[in-house]
Symmetry: C2
Subunit: 232 residues, 2 copies
């Protein structure tokens, strides 16, 4: 008796005819889904606008519904609740991050590209604080990303992983697991940005310095010819 809201990768789990082979979605379903997808996009755009302009605190079911001119019932049939809406925004936020990272060109070589990706990460977080709050701080009280959304989030780091792989292929980094290196770099830039956004580096110059210092340090263990690596 659970209110079955539409899930993206869940095609017709309750088909009306049990013995039907069900060869994909009916054209009717396809048309209907098109409309639903447009509606979904409109709802997500409205929520995104609220999130970017007024922050996560303004993300209210009534306000989102009012922004698109419908009732809150639509939000519940579409997303199943505020957690579902937050989950969609979570995915959307990592999608935005991925696009920003992909927009970084790798002209000046693999090493400079890693630095540029790091700065793109910081710029993204500073520019879209609302999304950052949904993605990393739990700005929506009861929300925690579903495992699938967590996987989507990790996939957004694929561009960083590939850049690390390219750097390894170019001999700029020592051969190894690109994913592991990318995760360490991610943690480094994320930590610096997180403390900056939390207000612990009020001076932007200081924040940038800490960011660059840490980002530069994070790749040191992966450079070739490790110079007198010490145990701690």
């Amino acid at each position: 008796m659970e209110p079955h809201h539409k899930e993206p990768g869940d095609p017709a789990q309750d088909d009306p005819v049990p013995g039907d082979p069900a060869p994909g979605p009916t054209p009717y379903e396809r048309a209907q889904r098109k409309g639903q997808e447009a509606l979904r996009r409109a709802l997500l755009d409205a929520a995104s606008g609220l999130l970017l302009e007024e922050g996560p605190g303004a993300l209210t079911m009534r306000r989102v519904a009012g922004a698109v001119g419908c009732s809150t019932t639509v939000l519940y049939t579409m997303f199943g609740g505020k957690e579902g809406l937050a989950d969609a925004l979570y995915r959307d936020g990592f999608e935005r991050l991925r696009r920003r990272l992909e927009a970084v060109d790798g002209d000046p070589g693999p090493q400079a590209r890693l630095g540029a990706l790091a700065h793109a990460y910081r710029d993204s977080a500073l520019a879209e604080r609302g999304y950052y709050g949904v993605m990393f701080q739990q700005a929506i009280p009861r929300f925690q990303p579903s495992p699938g959304s967590l996987a989507v989030a990790g996939a957004s780091l694929e561009v960083l992983t590939q850049a690390v792989g390219a750097a390894m292929a170019a001999g700029v980094l020592r051969p190894g697991d690109p994913r592991a290196v990318a995760e360490v770099l991610w943690a480094a830039v994320h930590g610096a940005v997180s403390l900056e956004l939390a207000g612990h580096f009020p001076d932007p110059g200081v924040a940038l310095d800490r960011f660059q210092t840490l980002a530069s340090a994070a790749i040191l263990p992966f450079l070739p010819e490790p110079p007198t690596q010490r145990r701690r």
Copy 2:
């Protein structure tokens, strides 16, 4: 006509007799304050229990008041609102962190002490997730720490700064600004812990590996005799 709630370092800003010299708090006020301070401690303990056992979502004015057996009015006269309560918990959380960091002994030398402090930071975050949510994620929707509380938070890192200073004095680290080095180390361990708590490192072994790798890397730029430091 703002509701003047009690602030810790604000002794009697509205003295009843304007022409009075007011040589400190009256004994009556002192006794009353003693009672108020005990009440404040009880309220904070109740809030802390809710926070640690059920998470920030259970931090409700009514629940906190119910846990100590009083009405919500007491919370408003004491803290001025939920933001004030969150601010007190914020300070309390950094106080707890400071105590945990001070509990690490520096027997095996300054360098091992830095590693032990890093692990203590991680252990603290993993053990008291509720406080971590209040301190770094904004788990309480409308709350943002006051400048004074931010300063208290930074002061909790003093133990790390002093450990860095000791390492510099011992020649383990290159001479420099201990505070800057401590902030970089803080950002490193915080980033790894933040991603772990967000669920991006589901395997605890992987999480520990990323943490150690990044923590070790973060001090590399500050070691003496920088080996072929490269620009990025």
